[in-house]
Symmetry: C3
Subunit: 317 residues, 3 copies
Amino acid sequence: MGNNPQLNANGELQHLLTIEGLPREIVLHILDTAHSFLSVGEREIKKVPLLRGKAIFNLFFEASTRTRTTFEIAAKRLSADVINLNVGTSSQSKGETLLDTVANLSAMHADMFVVRHSQSGAAHLIARHVAPYIHVINAGDGRHAHPTQGLLDMFTIRHYKKEFSSLRVAIVGDVLHSRVARSQIHALTTLGVPEVRVVGPRTLLPSNVSELGVQVFNDMARGLKDVDVVIMLRLQNERMNGALLPSAQEFFKYYGLTPEKLANAKPDAIVMHPGPMNRGIEIESSVADGRQSVILPQVTFGIAVRMAVMAILAGNA
Amino acid sequence: MGNNPQLNANGELQHLLTIEGLPREIVLHILDTAHSFLSVGEREIKKVPLLRGKAIFNLFFEASTRTRTTFEIAAKRLSADVINLNVGTSSQSKGETLLDTVANLSAMHADMFVVRHSQSGAAHLIARHVAPYIHVINAGDGRHAHPTQGLLDMFTIRHYKKEFSSLRVAIVGDVLHSRVARSQIHALTTLGVPEVRVVGPRTLLPSNVSELGVQVFNDMARGLKDVDVVIMLRLQNERMNGALLPSAQEFFKYYGLTPEKLANAKPDAIVMHPGPMNRGIEIESSVADGRQSVILPQVTFGIAVRMAVMAILAGNA
Amino acid sequence: MGNNPQLNANGELQHLLTIEGLPREIVLHILDTAHSFLSVGEREIKKVPLLRGKAIFNLFFEASTRTRTTFEIAAKRLSADVINLNVGTSSQSKGETLLDTVANLSAMHADMFVVRHSQSGAAHLIARHVAPYIHVINAGDGRHAHPTQGLLDMFTIRHYKKEFSSLRVAIVGDVLHSRVARSQIHALTTLGVPEVRVVGPRTLLPSNVSELGVQVFNDMARGLKDVDVVIMLRLQNERMNGALLPSAQEFFKYYGLTPEKLANAKPDAIVMHPGPMNRGIEIESSVADGRQSVILPQVTFGIAVRMAVMAILAGNA
């Protein structure tokens, strides 16, 4: 498996755990494959037989109906059998260890695990212990990574902006707690975006964020100045009235995306959000539903990207 | 989409939201189509490929295992892919609006939403906002409507009584809080049943119920006199000891269906109940399990009716 | 149906409720059929069309993600449609009786019920009331029986030990509360194992256990002496600090399987556990993961055994 735990001996994708360290050609291969799947969702019969007879386990140690649903749809469009496990409420509560749970499911001849876990590194840990014929997809681990979200965001940007080499992209909001932001930054850097900015209050930006090769802005007008892409992050409910943030209203006043603030960006800038949105907190409805918003296309592209990841992994068995 | 939000420009069924205002020929077309599906449930291989590759979302904002199961079975018999979402426990609790949730699921290329919601009008609201290729089926909204239940009840009545034009039908119990009763009354009226009665205590009948074209009875013996069909309603647990009703025992004494009370109806009258039954409260076990009961056939017919609705909607894309 | 509620008039398997009283040739037929299914899990396309169009209901009145998952995978590998019902949280809480719930699901043209219930005898009760074309599989009822676990354990023993007629088998731990132990004892006896031992503290062994034809040991070293198979039972969390057991530490000291205790068994003895394991309580990790452990193969074999049971039942319609 070499140094990169995501690649097999041939340098092909064995697991999708993080975008950090993923070779550029693999990222592009996923985006290209996703492009070829995009039309499946628009067909009369939205199915291809690529994963027929494969068993895909949605292993959600942390509840997330939306993300679980996108993986379930993607797997069913590939004709796989899907088993949904909300593990938080079962074996884990019976005192079994994470690795024993996974070892048991592996022994049922699983082909793929889609793993969501509140602890950073959970998907890596699982990937290190599964049999060589099993593939692991990280569907979000703690504050660490959410690579399929990062990839669908890249797909969206490429769809609207064609190429990455001349873009200015701003990621706005609670970068500190966001695995989505981390995956986006790695993806944008890998794809050669020359200027990636993070915008937010000092309390919600990681202290070492500039080490990731991004520019840091605390002022929204300056942060959005002349950007091509605005990516708003979700503000977790539990942050809204905590020590890091005076209030949701205060956040909206300074960092909520309004038409006025968006006017600082390029006129053809696109607006993205990973969802679910807090309207009136991160983003004003007129922007969320406005002509520059590509928030719903992100969802559509997300299915195609997840199909692509699954199909590529299954092909690298 | 003309005045009737359920019909498309050609006057065909686009959504099934309520039986109120549904043209008689569409109701009959559903019943006839259901008849043709009835045999599928008795085959060795209980499947037809009509909806292969379609994605049907069971969107249950209010939990109902039984109703969800009937739709899931109906969809799987049509070879559709089914995605179950208990939305009450997910995105909604994350602060996302109902319409954002639905917009997101639509962007995943859903073909049909089966919607259950505690608020009257929820399915209509969703139907007004989905893309034109998406169909919405109301699986119960607040106290408003439960059209597939009404339709399966009509299927049951036609199965046993052959025609509607000479029937006397009594609906007994908590009409006030019952979306089922409302859908039944509209269906019976639409199909030309000349005499529809509601029977119950004053506190559990809507004050304006006679405006729906029904006769009102507070006395069970008179209400059941010479009827062809007795439809018992479920008494919600939360009503049983509330302000509207002294006690479950009191209710059973006056309105619970016993052999003695049923003797007022015609000798070949059929007894129906939408389930789940409270034995000993709405209905005595000897009647529920007796020769006049068609309560279990209602369930069987319910699958065929839901298959019919889904197949018709998919055909009107 | 004769005296044995599990057999049809031809003496074939109609339901699988318990191993007690099951004819030896039927047990062997299940094991042989399972053997033929073992390779399906290793194929590129892990599916056979034997149960296509059949509707299998997982009726779990008691939550168990692991057991439910094994049945779901087995059914999907046979191409059946699977409906998962966590009944604890639905109709039952609406006041409907167990038999009404089952009658309703039967009316939806179910083919098979997989039933898990906290009350002993629940699966038998259901089997007595379903229509003749419906098959019931007991997936664990109270402290009574868990026949598919017992069968997969026999499959495992036969896989490693080839024949039953000369074996010495020890079942260790909380036999008193274990439906698994009861099913294992009946299976071992039926298959002609000459020496079956139960090992545990007096408080966790049934007072009449010797009537089942087993030898009773309270000392672990003596109980494991020269055995071919060691079956560890799971210690329920709720027993650990109760009246029957001083503490988990105390239990581990006397009955937890360590390399030292295991050294009393034959050098080629196999170690089994139904899972989920409490490492450091019933079993030391070095043994659980050691060369004599066949705990994970048990899981793999469990899928094949459940496929076999379903396929045999469906063939005896």
